[in-house]
């Protein structure tokens, strides 16, 4: 099968790229090993958060946030995006200082978080414990349903003319100098462009083209409670990131913190009880009324994590037509729609308005000084 662009990986980035390319009339084929959105995009917390990002990542997050504003119109589906605000909590003076430091940086990049002081936070959030001494609110941040995003993008991409093939695990990858030849589920696919959106497994694709990178597995440890009376609109985080927590309008509290684990032998990921207990304890420390709530389910999945916490996003250094977008370090749900747009721009326009220097694969593979 001949295409203009092949995409490997049906997460948020891959499905968004398929949609953005198909809308511009490109013949695009997306190959997904299982069902779209089964890995990092589908199992994460669902945070649509710019807050707390490294300044190098803010332009990408802002571009993606702009797409989130029109996600319903873009996908024709309700993915439960709610700009409910992201409130990052300080539990010590050092953490409060950290919030102030980031807020000053964010202002330079056009973001406007707002500090909420001790008295105000007590007044506005009476269910917080005294452990919380302040917070910073990013009003335009929010959350969405991670289970719905990738399928919605894929559905819209199909409607725009993209070919989305699920249960198509890639078994061979080659490049003859002009085009890629990819074999999946017994079929050959060829195209001059290949977008590597394969999450943790993107590392293997990069290595296949002579660009090995130190990508590790990241398994977010997630939990959900039974429905409780609705008391919390904002999505919560803490300085240090060892707890994130939100309540959906139907009442369930979704929270995470710590890491799950995987068993490579049987390709299974599992939440870890030790991580779950840690997150449960930290949740109660912040919101004591959760003490007697019941956890009804826990889960995890697999994302890719890079040592410097930046994704690999941009053109390959070895292979013309290959563009990488993987290793989003647990922050890819928010950026997924924007990454897809960036990829479509790289393919169609040869450039994007988002600075990608920090995400260049060359930081791992290029000889020192050679750029």
């Amino acid at each position: 099968m001949q295409a203009d662009v092949l995409i490997v990986g049906g997460g948020g980035a891959g499905c968004s790229a398929a949609l953005h390319l198909a809308k511009r009339g490109v013949r695009v084929v997306l190959l997904e090993r299982g069902l779209v959105g089964s890995q990092a995009t589908g199992v994460n917390y669902g945070g649509v958060r710019q807050q707390g990002r490294h300044p190098a990542g803010i332009p990408l997050a802002r571009k993606s946030r702009e797409i989130w504003s029109r996600i319903t119109e873009l996908t024709g589906a309700d993915v439960e995006f709610d700009p409910c605000g992201h409130l990052k909590l300080a539990r010590s003076e050092a953490e409060e200082a950290e919030l102030l430091r980031w807020n000053a940086l964010a202002a330079e990049h056009g973001l406007h978080p707002r500090m909420i002081g001790r008295n105000a936070i007590r007044e506005r959030f009476p269910h917080f414990s005294d452990v919380v001494i302040g917070g910073s609110l990013m009003e335009e941040d929010g959350s969405a349903n991670p289970r719905l995003l990738a399928p919605a993008l894929a559905r819209a991409a199909r409607a725009a003319g993209a070919t989305i093939l699920e249960h198509h695990a890639v078994t061979e990858l080659a490049h003859d100098g002009a085009a890629f030849d990819v074999r999946a589920n017994g079929t050959h696919f060829t195209a001059p462009w290949l977008l590597n959106c394969a999450g943790f497994w993107g590392g293997a694709i990069a290595a296949r083209f002579g660009e090995p990178v130190p990508v590790e597995k990241l398994h977010p440890n997630m939990l959900v409670t039974e429905p409780l009376p609705y008391f919390l609109r904002e999505s919560l985080g803490v300085v240090g990131g060892d707890l994130y927590l939100r309540q959906i309008p139907r009442g369930n509290v979704i929270f995470g913190g710590g890491r799950g684990e995987s068993d490579a032998a049987i390709s299974v990921t599992r939440p870890r009880p030790e991580a779950a207990f840690g997150a449960m304890q930290r949740a109660i420390a912040v919101i004591p009324r959760l003490a007697h709530a019941m956890v009804i389910r826990s889960w995890t999945g697999t994302d890719g994590e890079m040592p410097d916490h930046f994704p690999v996003l941009g053109p390959s250094r070895t292979t013309p037509g290959l563009v990488h977008a993987f290793g989003f370090c647990g922050e890819g749900f928010q950026t997924g729609p924007g990454v897809g747009a960036v990829l479509s721009e790289l393919v169609m326009d040869g450039a994007t308005d988002v600075p990608l220097e920090a995400f260049d694969i060359g930081r791992f593979t290029a000889a020192p000084g050679a750029v």
């Binding site: 399928p151 068993d263 207990f277 449960m280 019941m294 009804i296 389910r297």
Partner: protein, 453 residues
């Protein structure tokens, strides 16, 4: 060697008995305050009704089981009131919670899962009203607490438990307003020959049906329940008879049940693969005839390993323990092993006939009205599930992601079976093709607040 037995019903009791006999001291974990299982459910201490009154024809078996249970407790590390909520098969560790609080990690070298079964329910309008429960629930209320679900209950479903529960209620002084069996009489009669593989049980079943008729309990076979009516609680059943005539029968409670499904979440978390058993209409964890799972160190017995009933549970519990002992090169009784293998083969023939005699009415589930709630925890209707199918959910876990089916407190234990029927029929595929809901810990809810370690 650290051996853990989960469950102290008929399978668990007979498994422990064989282990102890071979000199093994297992850790024995039971979720309830006491063992005994469901069919031979024990009332709490201090209740005085006799075994004969509680268990009828099962009284002798119940007495023997309970005697073994009590004899074995001091010879094991007995842990009642203890929920196993997670397994880490790679480390061979169970995570348990006792009395709803105290956490423990229980390591094992070998594990026998005797986790039992629960009722299989077919949602119909009104099934979430107060006063509606399952046949198993109605029976446990009677046996464990000496209370009925109502004075004139209606019992709906199919299977031996339907008729047995009806007779137990009639004997306890209730006046069942109707026993509605969705299976035609002839479907049952056709299987009579096959059921002779366990002639005593078969004849007892015939006796129960006859006794109910003799007591004048209204019986409808080949009938269809249409809706449970009521405002504050169930007050009537709207149903249709074999001649398609509709009736409204007043009642004060309703019990539903169409056979049983294995409670196999722990096998799932242990990494045991599952196969679809078309005859039973259930997903069943994979095991050999002796109860060995394909996961090293894991054995399964009783209804949790595939529905066989209480008698088979006793046999398969002992058999799984003997397999474990043989695998561990510990003394095991070869003659008993051969005897159990023979009995289990015969019982399998009986069970096959029984499943054909009381089939799960899959078509009723597939035809469920759009407005009927399938998942009562999250209140997801059949229509919402069909919408998920239309939105390209080719299997159960994707349907869960789209519709929230199975995401509630019971994690799909109750709604998983009927939801699979609705989804499969909406997609025009077999129920085996839509798969089953993936298990996630905790197996049952645990509180956020954990006692200090």
């Amino acid at each position: 060697m650290k051996v853990v037995v989960v469950g102290a019903g008929p399978a668990g009791i007979r498994a422990v008995e064989q282990l102890v006999r071979a000199g093994v001291t297992p850790t024995w974990i039971e979720e309830s305050p006491d063992g005994g299982g469901r069919i031979t459910q024990r009332p709490p201490a201090g209740f005085t009704r006799s075994a004969a009154a509680l268990y009828g024809a099962d009284a002798g078996r119940a007495r023997r089981l309970h005697a073994t249970l009590d004899a074995m407790k001091p010879r094991t590390d007995w842990r009642p009131d203890t929920l196993v909520w997670n397994i880490r098969p790679q480390d061979r560790v169970l995570h348990t919670q006792t009395d709803g609080a105290a956490q423990a990690e229980v390591p094992y070298d070998a594990l026998i899962l005797c986790t039992g079964a629960m009722d299989r329910v077919l949602p119909l309008p009104g099934w979430t009203l107060p006063g509606v429960t399952t046949l198993g629930g109605a029976q446990v209320a009677l046996k464990a607490q000496g209370v009925g679900i109502g004075a004139k209950p209606i019992l709906v479903g199919t299977g031996p438990l339907l008729w047995l529960t009806a007779l137990q209620y009639a004997k306890a002084g209730a006046k069942p307003a109707l026993v509605l069996d969705t299976t035609p009489f002839l479907t049952k009669a056709w299987q009579a020959a096959g059921m002779m593989w366990n002639a005593p049980t078969f004849l007892r079943g015939i006796g129960i049906m006859a006794a109910l008729r003799l007591r004048g309990v209204p019986i409808a076979e080949d009938a269809t329940p249409l809706a449970i009516e009521g405002v504050e609680g169930a007050t009537a059943l709207h149903w249709r008879d074999a001649a398609w005539k509709e009736h409204v029968t007043p009642c004060d409670a309703v019990a539903l049940g169409w056979g049983l499904k294995p409670e196999s979440q722990l096998a799932d978390l242990a990494g045991v693969p599952f196969d679809y058993d078309a005859l039973q209409h259930n997903w069943v964890p994979r095991r050999d005839a002796a109860g060995r799972a394909p996961v090293a160190g894991v054995y399964m017995a009783g209804d949790g390993a595939g529905i066989g009933g209480a008698e088979v549970a006793e046999l398969s519990g002992a058999r799984a323990a003997l397999a474990l002992l043989a695998d561990a090169k510990l003394p095991s009784d070869a003659a008993l092993t051969a005897h159990l293998d023979g009995r289990l083969r015969t019982e399998a023939r009986f069970r096959a006939a029984l499943e054909r005699a009381f089939p799960y009415p899959a078509k009723l589930a597939a035809r469920m009205e759009d407005s009927t709630p399938v998942c009562r925890c999250e209140v997801i209707t059949a229509g919402e599930l069909r919408a998920a199918a239309a939105a390209d959910a080719p299997e159960m876990n994707r349907a869960k992601a789209f519709s929230r089916i199975g995401m509630g407190r019971c994690q799909g234990r109750l709604c998983g079976t009927p939801a699979a029927e609705v989804l499969a029929s909406a997609l025009g595929v077999t129920v085996a093709e839509v798969g089953r809901l993936r298990g996630q810990p905790p197996v049952k809810p645990i509180p956020l607040q954990q006692p200090a370690a």
